[in-house]
Symmetry: C2
Subunit: 109 residues, 2 copies
């Protein structure tokens, strides 16, 4: 599981958010997320595979901690888009191509 895929799943992002705030055991994450224990364990496996978390065994508990390093890849990907984001973006919603429900195709070329 790579970084992008690991972040693609919303529950996984939430789990990572929880782990970012403080190291968590599986049961803590079960409580915080409302997911079943196997579901959490499975997500944690993917997060481990993506190297986004590390595990510290402590008796029966496993403390999951954040490893933000792989997020550099996302940062790197986003980097070239950043100036476009800041220049184009702050101007509120210029993209008038919302021809979602209308068939009026505002084509000008």
């Amino acid at each position: 599981m790579n970084t992008f895929n690991a972040l693609a799943e919303p529950n996984r992002r939430r789990l990572l958010e929880a782990i970012r705030q403080e190291p968590c055991t599986v049961n803590m994450l079960v409580s915080k997320s409302g997911l079943s224990q196997p579901a959490v364990s499975k997500h944690l496996r993917y997060l481990r595979e993506a190297d986004l978390v590390t595990v510290k065994p402590d008796g029966q508990k496993r403390w999951y901690e954040l490893n933000p390093a792989p997020l550099k890849e996302i940062e790197a990907f986003l980097e070239p888009y950043r100036q476009l984001l800041s220049s184009r973006l702050d101007a509120p919603e210029q993209h008038l191509d919302s021809m979602k429900s209308t068939k009026t195709k505002e084509i000008d070329n």
Copy 2:
């Protein structure tokens, strides 16, 4: 298709990269990517659904252009990780006591 999912697929990231550099027609993207035309069209559909690209019809051609706005969501997600990235990252592997200063540790089980 949401932003995270749209970026999860490597070919789709490559297509977006190409479109970022210059507006592209489908055939241009087929050439650049080596994917089949239906595969490209399918990826473009997801990118459209994620609002990451817009289309400008021009005769039989469709010019696909970048809309970076949805990337703000990724930026927002990454934001809280950014200081961790810069501080922890260069120094390899010592994130043991990252919670001892301000965090209340609420171990409840």
